[in-house]
């Protein structure tokens, strides 16, 4: 099947079997590899992208549901919130292996876009679905708070 997608502000025409998860279209067909495969069952968040601005798990989101909507991947992030989050991630040296961090950042940008000064509970709710086997969680929490400070300034 042919699908017309809007990815990172560009129209992309892709060929995929119906029901193919958006993740594999993004990664294998479009070669946008910043979005990661971690579990395939929406349990780790490594595949998080934005669907009309809202974080979704692309590994469990069929390509046909994405057609006609705005999809943003880590490669397409821009704007003030994304800049603050990425800068905070760098200043805090959050990353270790780095494999989950695209998904972490997509979830954090989603959170701060709708809630610029999240409480610890808000951070818990937005980020608990993003696993990090390196356990960079202390720094993820701190970086979200730092990004919120940057956005306030």
């Amino acid at each position: 099947m042919q699908y017309e997608l809007n990815i990172n502000g560009r129209r992309r025409s892709v060929e995929a079997e119906p029901g193919t998860p958006l993740l594999w279209v993004i990664r294998d067909a479009l070669n946008l590899t910043g979005t990661k495969f971690g579990c395939g069952v929406a349990s780790c968040g490594a595949c998080t992208v934005h669907h009309n601005g809202t974080p979704i798990r692309s590994c469990s989101f069929p390509v046909e549901a994405a057609a006609g909507n705005e999809i943003t991947t880590i490669e397409g992030l821009d704007g003030r919130v994304a800049g603050a989050v990425q800068q905070a991630w760098r200043e805090n040296d959050v990353v270790q292996c780095g494999y989950c961090q695209s998904g972490q950042i997509m979830s954090a940008v989603g959170l701060l876009s709708r809630n610029p000064s999240p409480s610890d509970d808000d951070i818990d709710n937005a980020m608990a679905g993003n696993a990090c086997r390196c356990a960079t969680y202390v720094r993820i929490r701190d970086a979200i708070k730092l990004a919120a400070e940057k956005l306030e300034a």
């Binding site: 490669e75 990090c132 086997r133």
Partner: protein
């Protein structure tokens, strides 16, 4: 990987490092084709704009090597940190071997320790050549040139490294480049030096093997036996053929499974899942977890090997004569490593052999194992190392399991088509190479004054080394040292201690898992010491300090790290907190754990960690590894276990093998003991003491002693 290394060995290795460097330098230099870069030695390249590339011989799984080894070169070179980049070394054992092993690979928390002198010497040698080149260019004395931040200055003359590389490569390198004294360090020990990988890992551009796409590449997934040791009898691909994107399916040559080829990853997984296969389970593991536990207990009744210290009879006599006796058994489960990036690699043909794209932990293992599989010489196997999305030991398989699978998949297609082999998360959780199940049984005699009089300690676990290529190296008189490390070589002075071992035998594959044997031995030892302290009414920290002799260098540093954690955490005698300390990989870590317990509901609130790893090269990387090591340990001890039903793994993916979540993560405060000793590793040593510190804290709060992991088995719920 657990390689014991004494200080004397370190000095020997350091000397060897110097020699290796000198031998390795091509004094004429090599201008890499197409790149205006000068290779000053195997570890340093500098281009005409003065940008420095450090060739990193260890892979990056998150532990910070790309930052650490780069720091060493940049320090001695007096380079500008912002203009230094890291690049992974090719497979070339002569140039890039781990100096502690003689083969090329990463593990055992050795990257910094074995590279410390070598990479500093490489930086110093390059600096010396640039300095002499500038002196010749400018007609000044080299002694009058100052180097700082990548700029050479002599009076009014200034120039960056790049201006001198061409002349520098015509000079003979110094046989003994002069290294800085610790007082001269600017980057080593700098607390806010940014990681080298923090940009590309935050914008999606960092390349992992999973991200490699080559023209004409096909995707492969493998249907493996549901029981370890099962052999493929036949398979039917009729349903797989109906999956869009399916290409082909073939039996692996050793009948370990069916490789399924497809046009993309999704199709490969779907088609693989649609394969119907018949297996011969005659030699397979078919037991369930309760039967395996029963077998461990039988093996503990009659140990096979004496693993050190006194004989069991001596220990027993000392225990028999004691005023009191304490007995305990600890059971720890199989564990999967579950790195975030599922195992994968890409293999493609070259003119002379093959090239791997892999988050490659052990190029030497891969060259050996794939060479045997494909009948190629090691040098015909090129390896392009990419970032690895975690490993925790899983990628350092002596059998190179997934690379050999990829090699077979590539050969079955005629050795012309690039193949990307991808494991799903289910493949990973069910794929073996686990931290082995372990059982510890101890009997401890105590005299009227509360002192230990004798200690009979029995361990049962599956050997990592036996039956594999590392057996000759790692097994001595029947004892796989990795099964007993952390007990047999405890730093505590325990009188009349007998340590014995039995091997649990099973086709289930087992492997080193972040901190290897210490993952279970530290839990048993530090829980037992806590029990002794409780039984005898002693403060657990004061009691441990009483078991250490400060005239012994290692015991003195153990006492130092224990005191650091005590003081840093504000520990008071009688506190309802948990304490544990452990020595592993030449690094000492002590942990004070604060937990909240409300009935069965537990939250780990804060960990106070003290670490002594010698010279702190990158203090923030050390902190990160303590935080991460603690989190990795917590994930396991709180909830994780691999269990079997009739030989089949009962877990399959993260929903039933739950990784630690942000909501579980405690605060972590780290203090680094100031030291001028040689640096040692930090990737693993944060793991061992974390679990027992938390268990001891739960005991302090609830009175319940945890003897079986994960802790959820004791009825606790972690919130």
């Amino acid at each position: 990987m657990a390689m014991q290394l004494t200080r004397r060995d370190f000095l020997k290795s350091a000397a060897a490092a110097g020699a290796a460097l000198v031998i390795g330098i091509d004094a004429r230099g090599v201008l890499a084709a197409g790149h205006a870069e000068t290779v000053l030695n195997p570890f340093v390249r500098i281009d005409k704009n003065g940008f420095v590339t450090v060739i990193v011989k260890h892979f990056e799984m998150g532990q910070g090597t790309t930052t650490g080894l780069t720091t060493l070169v940049a320090e001695e070179l007096d380079a500008d940190w912002r203009t230094v980049r890291a690049e992974f070394a090719p497979a070339d054992v002569d140039k890039y071997k781990n100096l502690f092993w003689g083969s090329q690979g990463t593990g055992g928390s050795t990257a910094m320790a074995n590279s410390f002198m070598q990479y500093r010497a490489a930086g110093a040698a390059a600096r010396d050549m640039l300095l002499r080149a500038a002196a010749a260019d400018w007609g000044v004395d080299a002694a009058d040139i100052v180097v700082a931040n990548g700029i050479l200055t002599a009076g009014p003359r200034r120039g960056h490294f790049g201006l001198f590389v061409e002349r520098a490569m015509t000079l003979a390198p110094s046989q003994e480049p002069k290294l800085k004294t610790p007082q001269q360090f600017k980057l080593i020990g700098k607390v806010d030096l940014p990681r080298k990988d923090n940009h590309d890992k935050t914008d999606g551009s960092a390349m992992f093997a999973m991200d490699v796409q080559l023209p004409g590449m096909v995707y492969a997934a493998i249907k493996r036996s549901p029981r370890f040791g099962g052999v493929l009898e036949s398979f039917d691909a009729a349903a797989a053929k109906k999956v869009g994107g399916y290409i082909d399916a073939k039996a692996l040559p050793n009948n370990a499974g069916v490789v399924v080829y497809a046009k993309n990853t999704w199709a490969a997984f779907k088609a693989r899942d649609a394969i119907e296969a018949e297996w011969d389970f005659a030699k397979a593991e078919s037991r369930s977890s309760d039967e395996m536990l029963a077998r461990h207990r039988e093996l503990a009744d009659d140990p096979e090997f004496d693993a050190g210290h006194v004989g069991r009879a001596t220990a027993q006599a000392a225990i028999d004569g004691a005023a009191r006796m304490l007995e305990a058994e600890f059971v720890l489960p199989f564990l999967a490593h579950a790195p975030m990036e599922p195992l994968n690699c890409v293999i493609e043909p070259t003119a002379n052999g093959v090239r791997f794209h892999d988050g490659c932990q052990s190029p030497s293992f891969v060259q050996g194992a794939v060479g045997r599989a494909l009948q190629l010489k090691p040098e015909q196997i090129e390896i392009k190392t990419l970032y690895a999305g975690g490993s925790f030991g899983r990628r350092a398989t002596p059998t190179s399991d997934y690379q050999v699978e990829a090699a077979h998949a590539f050969a079955l297609l005629g050795r012309k088509t690039p193949v990307k082999l991808v494991w799903s998360r289910e493949d990973d959780i069910r794929g073996g190479y686990y931290r082995a199940m372990a059982l510890h049984r101890a009997k401890i005699g105590l005299d009227a004054g509360g002192r230990v009089t004798g200690w009979d300690h029995r361990i049962v676990t599956r050997s990592i080394a036996k039956g594999g290529p590392m057996e000759n190296f790692m097994v001595k008189e029947g004892v796989d040292h990795t099964s007993v490390e952390g007990v047999e070589d405890t730093l505590y002075r325990v009188p009349n201690m007998a340590v014995s071992l039995s091997d649990f035998r099973s086709p289930i594959t087992t492997l080193w898992w972040r901190s290897v044997g210490h993952t279970h031995t530290a839990f048993a030892m530090e829980s037992l010491l806590d029990m002794v302290a409780v039984e005898t009414g002693q403060d657990p920290i004061a009691m441990r300090l009483g078991l250490l002799d400060r005239n012994d260098d290692k015991q003195r540093r153990m006492a130092g790290v224990i005191e650091a954690a005590r003081d840093f955490s504000g520990w008071q005698n009688g506190d309802k907190r948990g304490f544990a300390a452990h020595f592993s990989f030449n690094t000492w870590v002590a942990v004070v754990a604060d937990v909240s317990v409300d009935g069965k509901r537990v939250h780990v609130d804060k960990l106070h960690m003290a670490v002594d790893c010698g010279v702190a090269v990158n203090p923030d990387v050390i902190r990160a590894q303590m935080e991460g090591g603690a989190g990795y340990a917590l994930s396991a001890v709180l909830r994780n276990e691999i269990t079997f039903k009739n030989g089949e793994v009962e877990q399959s993916n993260f929903p039933d093998y739950q990784p630690l979540r942000l909501t579980d993560m405690p605060e972590v405060a780290v203090t680094i003991v100031t030291s001028n000793e040689a640096p040692s590793g930090v990737g693993e040593p944060g793991v061992p003491p974390t679990g027992p510190a938390v268990a001891n804290a739960i005991f302090a709060k609830s009175g319940r002693r945890i003897r079986e992991l994960p802790m959820t088995k004791s009825g606790f719920e972690f919130v």
